[in-house]
Symmetry: C2
Subunit: 263 residues, 2 copies
């Protein structure tokens, strides 16, 4: 079994700006470009639960003074204050509940993103669980609001412990580019885009199918050159693929070997 | 006065993947690439205050049961519970304080980022306050931990209401690329990098000076080709610039006109 290389390829500030004059596509630059395109959506997505946290915090803070007053009254023997304190307590509990839910949501979002960076640090081929990879990446894409709300999705993932032989980040790049292109089709036609993702195991191979259904227009809204480039990279590690592209539909089927060739 | 165009150029998911075969540098792709390189640092930077929020929330939640018990005791006439409740209240207040501070920090971070996206949506030349632009962008760069902690910075910004004639995002791109290159120099030599940013007004022009001092090595760690490309773009709107590059030092001086040529 090959161990993943260290985080050498975790996108860092020192890796960009090398895109000129190279024959081979600069995948690193493209990956950073993709992340950059995600950033505004991620930031907006973080803003909503954060405003829940802020709101609940402010309500709790507003209640502090009243609670202090009631506690002081108790000291002076005003027994009715106990009931009032209970009411305050109930309100605080429900604020706390909202806060907690939003803070957990924020944490989940950040963790999905951090996990994704970490996984994509794996730069060498090795056993990859298609189920885990696809689930994680779709969660990561969900961190972007456009994808979350504008695309109708349907997933049918074979949930088993089989793995395929591939480079984690190379598979991810195909999914990302596919989603990016589908969203571009959405922006172009203003029509709904439906994305179907299926994984399966057949004849000892792992299969990943990506299908985009989009609004038919006279001009074809969906470019596939960039997807082909990423597919070709998968081919370097033994995957085969088929692209079916017609008006209103793009279907990509990738077949991954279970193991490295010759093992 | 020209009004900024709408958010057309706000980095969106539909704008990437167009980097091949163009003569002119694809500035949009480069901008997204830069944002992508910032993302991991931003996410890690958000994680710290968020864990403060989570921690405080959990402490508050742990206290809920005890407070309920004490309130019930009060009902049954146990007057000593009032004092215990006061202690609980004090503790909750200090948790709330921590939470509030961290939540505000999170909000500030997100707002800096959102404001930056918004400003960089301005795609046409117009009056720009150098002070405001440089301050905002340095705050945005601070959202990335590498820059925040590994670069020694010194700023000397002329704080006045004068504006210069430029495209906001074009000026920002030069600062970003400059900082990116300086960080790359840091990664290369493992030595400290010092960045000095100065703005000034002289003879009716606005002047922005960017200076990087870095560790001298036999191999020059600092590429400037990409910076030149962004500087050339500033030239299109009437700015002139000078680059001074020697071992261990890069100084860029940009002179912006106060107004558009011929006005």
């Amino acid at each position: 079994m090959q161990l993943p290389e260290s985080d050498k390829t975790l996108p860092g500030m020192n890796e960009s700006g090398q895109q000129s004059g190279e024959k081979k596509p600069d995948f690193e630059a493209l990956e950073l470009e993709f992340l950059g395109s995600m950033l505004p959506g991620i930031v907006h997505n973080l803003a909503t639960p954060l405003s829940g946290v802020i709101g609940a915090t402010q309500l709790l803070e507003m209640r502090v003074g009243e609670q202090e007053r009631l506690l002081n009254e108790l000291d002076r023997g005003v027994t009715t204050s106990a009931d009032a304190l209970k009411v305050q307590h109930q309100k605080s509990c429900s604020n706390l509940d909202i806060m907690s839910r939003n803070a957990r949501h924020l944490t989940d979002l950040l963790q999905v993103i951090i996990r994704r960076f970490h996984r994509c640090g794996q730069n060498t081929p090795g056993p990859v669980s298609l189920f885990e990879l696809v689930s994680n990446e779709l969660q990561f894409l969900d961190a972007n609001l456009t994808y979350k709300h504008k695309v109708r999705k349907r997933f049918d993932l074979a949930h088993d412990s089989y793995t395929v032989f591939a480079v984690y980040k190379h598979v991810v790049a195909v999914i990302d580019e596919f989603v990016l292109r589908s969203l571009a089709a959405h922006d172009f036609s203003r029509g709904l885009v439906e994305v179907n993702v299926t994984t399966n195991y057949e004849a000892g191979n792992g299969i990943l199918q990506l299908e985009a259904k989009f609004f038919e227009t006279d001009e074809e809204p969906l470019e596939t050159d960039s997807i082909d480039m990423f597919l070709a990279r998968l081919g370097e590690n033994g995957a085969s693929y088929e692209t079916h592209h017609e008006k209103g539909n793009l279907t990509i089927t990738i077949t991954f070997p279970r193991q490295a060739k010759g093992t």
